[in-house]
Amino acid sequence: MIYPAVDLPLPVAFAVAFFLLVGAALALIGAIGFLRLPSFYERLHAPALGTSWGIGGIMLASMIYFTAASSRLVIHEILIGIFVTFTTPITFMLLARAALHRDRTARSHGVPRKYPIGPEERPREDDESQAS
C-alpha cells in the first residue's frame, strides 16, 4: 500500500522536495532559454537542461518518494531516464543537420562550409590512385 505524503519522514520529504524542485526549475529555465536565446543553434542548447538533470531530478524524486511511501524498491523510473537520454540525440541531430543543410545551401554567413563545393564533389583517395 502507498502511505499518504503527510506520513513521510521529514528528511525523506526534504530530499523528494529538493530533487523535484531542482528538476522542475531546470526544465523551466530550459523553456525560458528556448524562448529567449537569439539564434536557432543557440536555442538547441536550452532543452538539453530539461532532458539531462531536469528529467534526472524529477526521476530521483519519484524514485525516493515511491520507495519510501510503498516501503519497497521502486526504480522503474530509471527506464524513462535511459530512453530519454538515448533518444533525444536523434531529434537534436535531425533538427541541427536540417538547419545546417539549409544554411549551407543559402550560403548564410557564419555557417562553416568545410569544402568550397558540395560534400559529394570532394576528392576521393581511390580517384587519385587511379590517376597516377
Partner: protein, 158 residues
C-alpha cells in the same frame, strides 16, 4: 541461439522492472527478450567489441558530474544573460575513434551536455562539427572531449 547476450539480459531486466520480480515474469520476459534479439540479429548491426567494460561506470560518473556542472553554467547564462564578449560558435574537432558504438555514445554524451550540440560527423576525415554555447572555453571543450571522453571510449571499445 543468443546473438546479443547483453541485449537479451537488458530486455529481460526491463520487462521485470516494468512488471514485477517474479518467476513467471522472468520466464515470460526471457522469452520476449530471446525473440527480440533474434529480430535484432536479422537487422545485422555491427557487434560492439567491448574491451574494458569495467571502465563504463567510471565514464558514467564522469559524464554525470560534467553534465551537472554544465547544467549550472547554462542555467546561469540563460538567467543572467551573456557576459561581455562571450559568444556561441561552431567548433571542429578531429577524432581518432572509428568504432560506431563509441561514436554513438560520444554523440549521446555531447547532446546530453547542455552547452554543446553535436552537429555532424565527417567519416572522410573523422572529424565532428559541434556548436557550443560559450566559445570562450574553446580550448577547454577540445581538451575535455579529447582527454576525458575519447581516451576512455578508446579504452572501452578497443
Amino acid at each position: 541461439m543468443l546473438p546479443y547476450p547483453i541485449l537479451t539480459i537488458s530486455l529481460t531486466l526491463m520487462w521485470m522492472l516494468l512488471n514485477s520480480f517474479t518467476l513467471g515474469h522472468l520466464i515470460l520476459g526471457a522469452l520476449v527478450a530471446v525473440f527480440a534479439s533474434w529480430a535484432m540479429a536479422s537487422l545485422r548491426p555491427d557487434k560492439p567489441k567491448l574491451n574494458k567494460w569495467y571502465l563504463l561506470p567510471k565514464l558514467f560518473f564522469i559524464v554525470l558530474y560534467d553534465i551537472a556542472l554544465s547544467n549550472i553554467a547554462v542555467a546561469w547564462l540563460i538567467i543572467r544573460g551573456r557576459t561581455k564578449g562571450g559568444k556561441a560558435g561552431f567548433l571542429t574537432i578531429p577524432l581518432e575513434i572509428k568504432d560506431r558504438t563509441a561514436l554513438a555514445l560520444l554523440a549521446i554524451i555531447l547532446t546530453s551536455t547542455p552547452g554543446s550540440v553535436w552537429l555532424e560527423y565527417d567519416s572522410y576525415d573523422g572529424s565532428i562539427l559541434m556548436h557550443v554555447l560559450n566559445l570562450d572555453e574553446e580550448e577547454q571543450w577540445i581538451a575535455t572531449i579529447k582527454n576525458r571522453y575519447e581516451k576512455l571510449l578508446m579504452e572501452i571499445f578497443a
